[in-house]
Amino acid sequence: MTDAIVVEGLEKRFGATTALDGVDLTVAEGSVLGLLGPNGAGKTTVVRILTTLLLADAGRAEVVGLDVVRDADAVRAAIGLTGQYAAVDEYLTGFENLEMVGRLYHLPKAEARSRAGELLERFDLSGAADRPAKTYSGGMRRRLDIAASLINRPRILFLDEPTTGLDPRSRLAMWEFIAELADGGTTILLTTQYLEEADRLADRMVVIDRGRVIARGTGDDLKAQVGGQRLEFTLSRAVDLPEVARRLRPLAFEDARTDEQTRRLSLPVHGGTEVLAEALRLLEGVGIEVLDVGLRRPDLDDVFLTLTGHSADDAATGDDTQAEPVPAAGGAR
């Protein structure tokens, strides 16, 4: 398989903040890559460089064999981009938005119109086709935005946090649309903060932190690194946390994480509900009040703790809001 996207040694600084510190990645033609990282890790900066919106300070990026700087126009003709915020003209109707984008891709008028109708149908927006986008819900705007990026039948689609801010139902619908596109052979680079989302949609994942790649592989590779499940307890009193951690230690393969403020305890375990039952048995008759207990799959925060020793929340360098980068402590190491 050939690579649809090749990125080598990409670097970008905003003032004193280093947004990208030598990123390498490739995306095979027809596959889906999940670019995973917390806010400010540099995901959006990678997308903006690949979509010709931003110039890198160093490194090289190719999309369908075209250099994103030298052949910027040809790259633009081959890609579709859906940014973090739905970039639709709210005064135009859904149909007018898509027709305009089609015309700007230089489709003949008739084709732009028929393509607009097709995509509105496909994204469940036919009923709202003649209403100004101002009246659309968040989920509808996001769908219209993705439809706009598909007008030209792009070979490569960039989706920057396509489900951020969507309600759970719209998120599921969006996942289905993305999966359909991937099945149709479109190469997709998708950024997300959610391990679950990347796991569900992506063939391969690249995890970045502070502008550097810290892990790459399939979802299973990553989960194998992070390991097992998380057993989580919320107690009524924070003083009981050490006692619970001590009693449950035999069940875990690593020490428990506790948080006094939220009175929560998280324990990495192998196994399923039988571990949960065992844990509850170990806490019987000791007079500790448990408010909430559950078993969950590892999330991005767990990946970060395992790979970097710090949580995802501490990772931000602020580069995603790249107009005004906010330097963060430890951002430029």
């Binding site: 903006r48 979509t51 010709t52 919106l53 931003l54 126009d73 040809a74 633009r76 003709a77 890609i79 981009l81 940014g83 915020y85 739905a86 970039a87 639709v88 003209d89 709210e90 005064y91 135009l92 007018e96 305009m100 984008v101 015309r103 700007l104 891709y105 230089h106 100004p132 706009a148 809001t321 790249q322 107009a323």
Partner: protein
Amino acid sequence: MTTLAMAVSDSLTITRRNLIKVKRVPDLIVFATLSPIMFVLLFRYVFGSAIPIPDGLNYAEFLLPGIFAQTVIFGSTITGASLAEDLQKGLIDRFRSLPMARSAVLIGRTVADLLLNVLTIAVMMITGFVVGWRIHTSIGEAILGVLLLLTFAYAMSWVMAFVGLLVRTPEVVNNASFIVIFPITFIANTFVPIDNFPAVLKAFAEWNPVSAVVQGARELFGNVVPGAPEPNGWALQNPVLYVFIWVAIFLAVFVPLAVRTYRRTAGR
């Protein structure tokens, strides 16, 4: 498609998009025309009685070309504010990711605002007729007068396009441009004759391109006293030529500057 054909087609697409907004948000056009009507009435009837003007001319005739100029110049802030709004909403990012001409968003914007100004001038001329303003020259000269106003406003639109892309917040564009546009439209012959200005302001007013726009429009509409002495200074003696020199300078400087900023700018 050739580069030129592409630029024309893309600019038309963007112009159309901007005009659809005018259609969908009629308040825009209502307020854009109400305020000049209000200005005409205020100056004509409130200040008009107190402002001494050259003999043989009624104040409406003196005033209207000034109001035309001030209004179309203020209209240029719409260019800057609209671009800042597009930036904020991420639309500029979308446009920049499309294989379209790099100048089209700016050309489409300024052309749409030019068409808006045509409408505004028409409304003001009608209001002017109602309060006693008249054209005393030929149709050709009158059309030239309108073109002079529109051309200068179009050049100002490019200045504001650059400001809008730089400032990036529509509200700030509005406030910032008022700070500049108020003085340049008031320290001029727009509403009062400049002969009694203090020396420094008088010199400024004599070389202020807005004065030349107004003087040029007055001459082309025939709103000057026949046989009156020539105004002071080369600029006001050759107002049309002087205005076109400014237009050329504005366009030569700000078209490339605005396009360059557009290419490098980034939303949010």
